[in-house]
Assembly symmetry: C2
Homo-oligomer: 238 residues x 2
């Protein structure tokens, strides 16, 4: 793991790094050893330093004394697309422009990206070393890629997921998730049908899981849910 | 309003009262003027001083500095059943013993009780006088009776509801609820089908409403939801 930049702001240090081909960012509190580590999975079309990712990471560091890490998912941020990514994205755009249904292709893309990103996240965890208990926070694409990661990685002890459903994420992988989960859905999500979101929540094998549903579209998650997610991580990792 | 008993415990005073035929209880913090008032609607077969009611009232007083009030619903606690209550309850028991569906009768009972209790709660509010902003907290029967109350009573500014559905509570009344609502459902509720609970949440006209769903049966609401409800009231009434 090679650190490539270093910025300190309001008591939080942000470092960018590369690990092989994987570009990442790490946030840590300036004045204490991190008590835990939360992995943040960005949304579709976003990247490791998208504003929503940076905001969550900053609060985890400043308010909880946790470290946070994010990586660019394959084909996102600065990462190249393979021929297979290109094929799916091109076909998806064609369907969106015409009358076709792009959802099965988006699901295919998520499956492909998940197979790539799960071992990448695990190698990042290995390289970061022990920073205390580990959590995962990912919405939308970050949920679809996070579910197989949380199912596969025993170091992850709690997860905040949501804004996805069984048409875009693997219900089979969800059945392997057993840690406490907070699951967010938007009641009027224009991208995820209610039934699909609830079926994905239903599929999680966690004994402790809570669904939070709020009115509004995909992007309209109320700010209070971030406060609530911070309390959730503080409780389970603190 | 006639106060009939007075007990102080751990900084919280509990007074029982009667207002006409209505038996009630009022909890207040010992060391401060109440900053707000939360009305607590008990569950079916319970009463104004059921353990769950007393526990919620005590926390509202001790942790939020709020007053809390509860009354026995008609046909509950020390209150007599009318001939109509008796008819419905007898028929409901007969159906539960046989193969019939008791739900339509339970819904009929809820409708009858709601028509009686809404003016009762409003007269209690009048008699208590101004104790600050008012909230309502009721699950199950307390939700079915609370929805028409919250819809009718402009002094109520926020409500925690749940464990009910459109087969037991009025979706029409829910369409008159516009204040912020926290709505709880149990994912494996043996008394309220998921679809009914979600349809009731959907029917609420509130711009700010959040559904919290947890695994487990009707009685298995996790303790964390009470902490969360206290924060909800502190935010909206504090």
């Amino acid at each position: 793991m090679r650190f490539t930049s270093h910025t300190s702001n309001d008591g939080v240090t942000e470092r960018t790094f590369t690990l092989g081909e994987i570009p990442g960012a790490l946030w840590t509190p300036d004045d204490t050893q991190p008590r835990a580590l939360v992995l943040i999975g960005h949304g579709g079309g976003q990247h490791k330093q998208a504003p929503g990712v940076v905001a969550r990471a900053g609060r985890l560091a400043a308010e909880c004394g946790f470290a946070a890490a994010a990586i660019d998912a394959p084909a996102h941020g600065g990462r190249p697309r393979t021929a297979e990514h290109e094929r799916i994205v091109t076909e998806m755009r064609a369907r969106m422009a015409g009358a076709g249904d792009p959802v099965p292709l988006l699901a295919e893309l998520h499956t492909l990206l998940a197979a790539q990103v799960v071992p990448e996240w695990r190698s990042v965890l290995d390289a970061l070393g022990d920073m205390g208990p580990v959590g995962y926070w990912g919405m939308s694409l970050g949920c679809a890629l996070g579910i197989p990661l949380v199912a596969a990685e025993p170091r992850i002890r709690a997860a905040v997921l949501g804004l996805s459903g069984t048409s875009l994420a693997s219900a089979e992988a969800a059945a392997g998730v057993t840690v406490p989960v907070r699951f967010l859905m938007q009641w009027d999500d224009e991208r995820v049908p209610r039934e699909d979101a609830m079926a994905l929540f239903d599929a999680l094998a966690s004994g402790e899981k809570t669904l939070h549903a709020n009115p509004g579209k995909h992007e309209d998650v109320p700010a209070l849910e971030a406060d609530s997610a911070l309390r959730f991580f503080a409780r389970h990792l603190g």
